[in-house]
């Protein structure tokens, strides 16, 4: 019994560490994915029009980009190491399949991203303007490619394809099946849209901060315009795309969808609850209070208002028959709220974007200060949506680490005990909090500045990005 308790503590600690470090890492990833292309747009506009305001915006947001990029790189390394450090059984089991996209990510995209970003930061006076612009395009391409490859790796945990089991290990049989996995392609689209939403929301928020204080209005109008051109369509499309992704997940991981709705019994014409109190356990499956939209869950999960959605209890029984006795339920209440947190935060971003666009079009945006402050506060929303999204994706997969093939509780490193884990988890938490505080301080400081075309020493086109 003691052994069992200890074992579960170890797995819980390892999971807590992976969750903390991944969610933290993913604060910086979407910002890189989304802010990168917007800076590309600024610099491309400068290159085409020669208008200095675009250069000022490139420098201004480029600096914010780099402050965050640093933490993104640093915390990304932790993710690569952690599979082996904390999940050695998992690593041996999936290495043949999962390692390949990870290695390809390094070879094909990290080299591209890091090398060309270095060229961009320091190449202002050394490369021709056209070539210099190209380095940023390539760096952003690298970051998008790396998102694709890491999501291919992750998709194998959600919906394993292109493999066969040999001596209890997953062996790759088709790299094309892996690279074109439906799950991976949907996740990639969803992630890129989420990244663009995040980047554009931050540009809009920073612009609105300047409007609210009545500073640099002219130049930030241009920034806000670009941000809104990206944000309005992308945030709306991502709501649709995300819900469509739900239909794919219903086919591949029905348990995740059932948990995200706390739907205990298989149903047709199932309602979607906007909010519910209670109803999160098999013994009391009926909520004491809820607000429901009839047929909506069926529509979200199957694309038809009368579609059948499988219930948690039914799935649990089916899994017990297939995989042997046990409890195959993920933590229902967490997933229910994670799904709503994601969807509501995402919807609010879209709402802010639409109102912002209308105000901008009527030339009122910079005058409506209260809305500007809303947009400033709204920059937190896409980050929250991303975090909730990952909770939904990864906790909704439990108890599996690889859906249907390997359980999380059996996949951790047997030699890494509570002492090591407690130590590493504390170190990461303390270090990450300190970095977040410093990052926030730096971001505020730089977001508050006036955008300049030259650096502090007056050198033209040598930005404040260098060291």
């Amino acid at each position: 019994m003691t052994v069992l308790v200890l074992a579960s503590t170890v797995v819980d600690l390892a999971r807590a560490q992976f969750a903390t470090t991944s969610v933290y890492h993913f604060f910086f990833v979407p910002l890189t994915l989304g802010l990168g292309p917007i800076i590309v747009a600024f610099q491309t506009m400068w290159h085409r029009t020669g208008d200095e305001k675009w250069l000022r915006l490139t420098h201004f947001f480029g600096t914010l980009f780099l402050i965050n990029f640093a933490i993104g790189v640093a915390t990304g390394l932790v993710q690569e190491f952690q599979f082996g450090m904390n999940w050695s059984v998992y690593s041996r089991f999936v290495g043949n399949v999962f390692g390949a996209p990870l290695a390809i990510e390094g070879l094909a995209s990290f080299f591209l991203e890091s090398t060309f970003l270095g060229l961009w930061i320091f190449g202002w006076n050394r490369l021709s303007p056209r070539l210099h612009l190209a380095t940023l395009w390539i760096a952003v391409l690298g970051s998008w490619m790396s998102a694709y490859f890491i999501l291919v790796a992750n998709s194998f945990m959600q919906d394993p394809v292109g493999y066969k089991l040999v001596n209890g290990e997953a062996h790759l049989t088709s790299v094309w099946a892996l690279l074109s996995s439906t799950w991976a392609l949907y996740a990639f689209g969803h992630t890129i849209f989420a990244g663009l939403t995040t980047g554009a929301a931050v540009v809009l928020g920073v612009s609105c901060w300047h409007f609210a204080r009545g500073r640099n209005v002219e130049v930030f109008r241009s920034a806000a315009k670009v941000a809104l051109i990206v944000l309005v369509p992308v945030s709306c499309v991502n709501l649709w795309f995300g819900s469509h992704f739900g239909i794919v997940v219903e086919e591949l991981q029905p348990m995740k969808i059932a948990a995200s709705e706390a739907q205990w019994q298989t149903c047709t014409h199932c309602p979607f609850s906007l909010f519910q109190i209670g109803g999160f356990s098999s013994s009391s499956p009926t909520p004491s209070f809820s607000i429901e939209i009839p047929g909506m869950l069926s529509y979200l999960a199957t694309g038809s208002f009368s579609g059948q959605v499988q219930g948690l209890d039914n799935l649990n029984q089916a899994y017990a028959q297939q995989f042997g006795p046990g409890n195959y339920l993920p933590p229902v209440e967490v997933i229910y709220w994670a799904m709503r947190g994601m969807a509501y935060a995402g919807s609010l971003v879209a709402l802010i974007a639409i109102i912002g666009a209308v105000l901008f079009w009527k030339r009122r945006l910079e005058k409506w200060r209260w809305f500007c402050w809303v947009a400033v506060a709204g920059t937190a929303l896409p980050f929250l949506a991303c975090a909730f999204g990952w909770f939904l994706t990864e906790m909704g997969r439990q108890p599996w680490i690889v859906q249907g093939l390997l359980q999380t509780a059996k996949a951790n490193s047997p030699n890494v005990g509570t002492t090591w884990l407690a130590l590493s988890l504390s170190v990461f938490v303390l270090l990450y909090i300190a970095l977040l505080v410093a990052d926030f301080w730096l971001m505020r400081r730089y977001a508050e500045r006036d955008p300049k075309a030259t650096d502090d020493h007056g050198a033209t086109t040598a930005p404040a990005m260098g060291y």
Binding site: F83, G84, R92, G99, A103, I121, F122
Partner: protein, 337 residues
């Protein structure tokens, strides 16, 4: 050569590339508290590696990823076994990476001093742990029959592995000083050359001791004959001695080439000494992990080989181009702070 052996060589090449490239930017980092006399000289040091350190670090990312993909069981045992050591490396690398972008973003001297030291300590710590860690693959750690590490953090520190850590630190510091002699001007250049000269003899001596000891350990604990490990070891010693000579004669370019070669040959000696094993077990030699017992199946290795074949030349091309673009020396600006 079958694909398993090819990938063993490639993992070695990736580590060698990492030592060659990140070696000098670690070295520059370690010298930060000692070499520069003022803030603008510190800025020169940061700028000298600014455009390239991130690309250099990707060699590590790819070495890790390639080990995961090509030798999952090696990756699993090594990374879970060296848990605390890798935690230290991660902390070192995190504060170091951040220091590059953040140090210049505020002018408060305390802020700048903090990040300067963060970079120095991070560079030193990571170099030390990588030296200790890689030497442990050969020296042997407690590994049981199911391939799991059963030791403690302190098991990683043996006289041989500590010397390995020191050798890597000293070689990197020398390599970094040599790099600075190619990137600086005037008085700072003179001091960089002096530092390179001062570091050259201890670095060469400790590296030579480590290389000789590696061959002994290979014979003693890994059932190898003296040849072939002695070949890269001898070349490594020769490279380091030549580096001492070139540094003394102010042949800075050649000195840098030789310190780089020394760093590469340290990895080459370790990997040659390891083969056909990848991690020696000190519990029972027969529990040692080998290339063939840890490798991925043929199909995975074939896919990875194609990717490596396409990507590696491109990477070398554009990374080489970056070094060409930023080949100029950097002068300390009197106005910059």
């Amino acid at each position: 050569m079958n694909l398993q052996n090819l990938w063993f060589v490639l993992v070695g090449v990736l580590w060698a590339g990492y030592f060659l490239l990140e070696g000098f930017d670690f070295g520059v980092g370690m010298l930060l508290p000692f070499l520069p006399r003022n803030e603008s000289e510190r800025t020169v040091m940061f700028e000298s590696i600014g455009p390239v350190w991130d690309g250099n670090e990707v060699w590590l990312v790819v070495a890790g990823g390639a080990t995961f993909a090509a030798f999952p069981a090696w990756y699993a045992t090594m990374f879970s076994g060296f848990y605390i050591a890798l935690l230290l490396v991660l902390v070192c690398l995190i504060v170091r990476v951040v220091s590059f972008e953040w140090r210049s973003k505020a002018t408060d001297p305390r802020w700048r001093t903090f990040w300067t030291w963060a970079n120095a300590v991070g560079s030193f710590g990571a170099s030390l742990v990588w030296g200790v860690g890689l030497a442990n693959l050969l020296n042997g750690v407690p590994i049981n029959a199911s391939g799991d590490f059963t030791g403690t953090f302190w098991d990683l520190f043996r006289p041989y592995t500590v010397v390995a850590g020191l050798a890597v630190v000293l070689v990197f510091a020398f390599h970094g000083a040599s790099y600075l002699t190619l990137k600086t001007t005037g008085d700072f250049l003179e001091r960089s050359m002096r530092t390179a000269r001062r570091l050259s003899i201890p670095a060469a001596l400790v590296a030579a001791a480590f290389l000789v000891w590696t061959v002994v350990v290979a014979v003693d604990r890994n059932d190898k004959s003296v040849f072939p490990p002695v070949l890269p070891a001898a070349l490594g010693i020769a490279a380091m001695l030549l580096a001492v000579l070139f540094a003394a004669r102010r042949r800075t370019g050649w000195a840098f080439a030789m310190t780089g070669l020394g760093a590469v040959l340290i990895v080459a000696t370790l990997f040659t000494s390891l083969y056909p094993r990848v991690m020696v077990s000190s519990t029972d030699f027969s529990y040692s992990l080998t290339v063939s017992s840890t490798a991925s199946a043929h199909y995975t290795l074939a896919v990875m080989s194609v990717v490596a074949l396409v990507c590696t030349p491109l990477v070398l091309l554009y990374q080489g181009w970056t070094y060409h673009v930023f080949r100029q020396r950097i002068s300390a600006s009197p106005t910059a702070t």
